[in-house]
C-alpha cells in the first residue's frame, strides 16, 4: 500500500459512488452534482496515471464547463418555485436491455484485452519508480501530436465546435426575434 494506491482507490470509490448517485438520484440537480463528482474522480485517476494535462483539462472542460452548463440549463428550464426537478423512470425494458448489453460488452473487452501484455504498460512496469527521473510534462508531447499526426482530426474538431457555436448563436437569435415582447437593444 503506497499513496498512489490509496489515492487510486479513493478516487475510484469517488467515481463509482458518484456515478451511483447519478443513476439513482431522482433529483436532477443532485444527479448533476453526482456527475460533476464522477468527472472529478476521473480527473484524479488521470492525474495518478501521470496524465496531468489531461486531468487538469478534464476539470477545466467537464467539471468547470460542461456540467456547470448542464446544471445551469436544468435550473433555468425547470420549474423553480415549488418542488425540485425530478426525473421519472421511462423506457424500463429498453433501458435495462441496453445497460445489460453494454455491461456484458465492457466486461468482455476488459477480460480479452490483457492489459499486462500491452507494450507500453509492460514498459512502464519495468521503470523503477524510485530511481527513474520524474515524468516530464505531457503538454509538449500532446501539443506536438495534435499539430503533427492528428492535425486533421484537431481541425475537424475545431470546425465542429465552430459550427455548434454558430448554431447556438442562431438559435438564440431566432428565439429572440420570435418573442412577442419588444426588447430594446441597449448599446
Amino acid at each position: 500500500m503506497d499513496y498512489y494506491r490509496i489515492a487510486f482507490y479513493l478516487f475510484g470509490a469517488l467515481t463509482v459512488l458518484a456515478a451511483v448517485v447519478v443513476v439513482w438520484s431522482r433529483n436532477l440537480i443532485h444527479a448533476g452534482m453526482g456527475l460533476l463528482l464522477t468527472l472529478f474522480g476521473v480527473a484524479g485517476l488521470y492525474a495518478l496515471a501521470a496524465a496531468d494535462f489531461l486531468a487538469v483539462v478534464q476539470i477545466l472542460v467537464y467539471v468547470g464547463g460542461i456540467v456547470i452548463l448542464l446544471l445551469f440549463g436544468i435550473m433555468l428550464t425547470q420549474r423553480i418555485a415549488g418542488r425540485a426537478p425530478r426525473t421519472g423512470v421511462v423506457n424500463r425494458t429498453v433501458g435495462a436491455l441496453i445497460a445489460t448489453g453494454l455491461f456484458v460488452l465492457f466486461v468482455m473487452v476488459i477480460f480479452s484485452a490483457r492489459f499486462a501484455e500491452l507494450p507500453w504498460i509492460a514498459q512502464g512496469r519495468m521503470i523503477d519508480r524510485e530511481s527513474a527521473p520524474p515524468v516530464g510534462s505531457t503538454v509538449e508531447r500532446l501539443g506536438q501530436l495534435l499539430v503533427g499526426p492528428y492535425l486533421l482530426l484537431f481541425e475537424v474538431a475545431a470546425l465542429v465546435l465552430t459550427v455548434a457555436l454558430i448554431g447556438a448563436a442562431y438559435l438564440a437569435r431566432r428565439s429572440r426575434q420570435e418573442g412577442a415582447r419588444p426588447r430594446r437593444m441597449i448599446s
Binding site: I29, V56, I59, L60, V63, I68, F72, S187
Partner: protein, 369 residues
C-alpha cells in the same frame, strides 16, 4: 504489528507534512482575510470621507476579529426549504477551490507546495470549479435572489475566462512552459538565455541586471496590455466591482449567499478575499516577476542579489499581491456596477479581441526570438 506501525508512520509522515503546509496556508488566508476586510473598510471609509472602524481595539484593528467571533458564535441556520446537502457543502466547495490554487503558487525559490508542470492550467481549472460551488449555493438556498446570483455567476464565468485565459496564454507562449515556478525563474537574474530590454535585440541584455527590467511586462512590452486584460478579467473572476454582478447588493440583496450566515458566510468571505489575493498573485507571477525583487543589480550595488531569497521572495510576492488587492478595493469604491450584458460586451467585444491580438503578437515574438 511492527510492520503495521512502520506502515502507518510511513503513511502518516508525509500526510502530516502536507497537512502542516495546508494548515499554514489556511491560517495565512484566514489572517490575511481579517486584515483585508479591515483594510477594505478603511479604504472605503477614507475614500468616502469617513473614518471607518475605530472603536474595537486600537484604531479599530480588532473589528474584524470581533466580526469573525460573532460569525463563529452565530446559530447555524438551515432554511427549511433549502436543499440541505447542497446548501451545506457549497461554501466549502467555494473555499477549497480558492484554497487549492495556493498549492501551486511559487512563493520563493524552492518555496512551492506543489511544483506542478501544468500549474497555470491547474489554477484556471479550479477557478472554474469555484463556480460549481456558487451554483450549489444559489440552488441549494432555494431563494430566488440566490438563484439569480448563481445564474449570473455562471454567465459571468464563461465571459471572463476567455480573455483571462488568452492573456495568460500570451505569457505562456513566450515562456514556453505551464509551470509557474519556471515562469518566475525566467523573469529574474537566474534567467537562462538572453533577455533584452523591452525584448528588442538591439537593446542591451538585462538578464544579469535582474530586477524590474526582467519582468515579463518590461521584457515584452505588449504584455502590459495583456496584464491589463488579465487584471480586468480577474476582477470579474472574484466578483469584485465593477463586476460584482452575482452579488449585486442593490438588485440581488446579497446574491448567492443571501441565505447564509455564521460560519458558512465566513467561508464565502474567506473565499472572496482569498480569491482576490490569489488572482493578484497569479498576475504577479505571470507578469510582474513573481517573487523576484524589483530592484536591479547596478554595478557593484547588487540590489537584486541582496533582495532575493525565501523570505524576500515571500515579501515581494505578497507585496505585489497586496498591491493588486488594494487596486481591487480602490476600483470597487470608485466605479458603478456593470449590467450582465455589458459585462458580456466588455469581455467578448473589447477584451477578447485585444487578448487574441496579444496572443498573436506573442506567437510572432516567440517564433522570431
Amino acid at each position: 504489528m511492527g510492520s503495521g506501525m512502520e506502515f502507518f508512520i510511513a503513511l502518516l509522515g508525509p500526510v502530516l507534512g502536507v497537512m502542516f503546509v495546508a494548515l499554514l496556508v489556511a491560517s495565512f488566508i484566514a489572517l490575511y482575510t481579517l486584515a483585508a476586510v479591515y483594510a477594505e473598510r478603511k479604504v472605503s471609509a477614507f475614500i468616502q470621507d469617513r473614518v471607518g472602524p475605530l472603536e474595537t481595539g486600537p484604531r479599530g484593528l480588532l473589528q474584524t476579529v470581533a466580526d469573525i467571533l460573532k460569525l463563529l458564535l452565530k446559530e447555524d441556520i438551515v432554511p427549511r426549504m433549502a436543499d440541505k446537502p447542497l446548501w451545506v457543502v457549497a461554501p466549502f466547495v467555494v473555499f477549497s477551490a480558492v484554497f487549492v490554487g495556493y498549492a501551486v503558487m511559487p512563493f520563493g525559490p524552492e518555496l512551492v507546495a506543489a511544483n506542478l508542470n501544468v500549474g497555470v492550467l491547474f489554477i484556471t481549472a479550479f477557478a472554474a470549479f469555484e463556480v460549481a460551488g456558487l451554483l450549489l449555493a444559489g440552488w441549494g438556498s432555494n431563494n430566488k435572489y440566490a438563484l439569480y446570483g448563481a445564474v449570473r455567476s455562471v454567465a459571468q464565468v464563461i465571459s471572463y475566462e476567455i480573455p483571462a485565459g488568452l492573456a495568460v496564454l500570451s505569457v505562456v507562449l513566450l515562456a514556453g512552459t505551464l509551470n509557474l515556478q519556471e515562469i518566475v525563474l525566467q523573469q529574474g537574474i537566474g534567467a537562462s538565455g538572453p533577455r533584452h530590454l523591452f525584448g528588442l535585440p538591439f537593446l542591451p541584455d538585462v538578464s544579469a541586471l535582474g530586477g524590474l527590467f526582467t519582468w515579463n511586462v518590461l521584457a515584452y512590452p505588449h504584455l502590459l496590455i495583456a496584464f491589463a486584460i488579465y487584471f480586468i478579467a480577474s476582477l470579474a473572476e472574484v466578483n469584485r466591482a465593477p463586476f460584482d454582478i452575482p452579488e449585486a447588493e442593490s438588485e440581488l440583496v446579497a446574491g448567492y449567499h443571501t441565505e447564509y450566515g455564521g460560519i458558512k458566510f465566513a467561508f464565502f468571505y474567506l473565499a472572496e478575499y482569498g480569491g482576490m489575493l490569489l488572482v493578484g498573485l497569479i498576475g504577479a507571477v505571470l507578469f510582474l516577476g513573481g517573487w523576484h525583487s524589483p530592484l536591479p543589480n547596478l554595478g557593484p550595488v547588487r540590489l537584486a542579489d541582496w533582495t532575493t531569497g525565501p523570505i524576500w521572495g515571500i515579501f515581494w510576492l505578497l507585496l505585489k499581491g497586496f498591491a493588486a488587492v488594494f487596486v481591487h478595493m480602490w476600483a470597487r469604491w470608485t466605479l458603478p456596477r456593470l449590467r450582465v450584458d455589458q459585462l458580456m460586451y466588455l469581455c467578448w467585444k473589447v477584451l477578447t479581441p485585444f487578448a487574441v491580438a496579444m496572443v498573436v503578437v506573442s506567437a510572432f515574438w516567440a517564433s522570431w526570438r
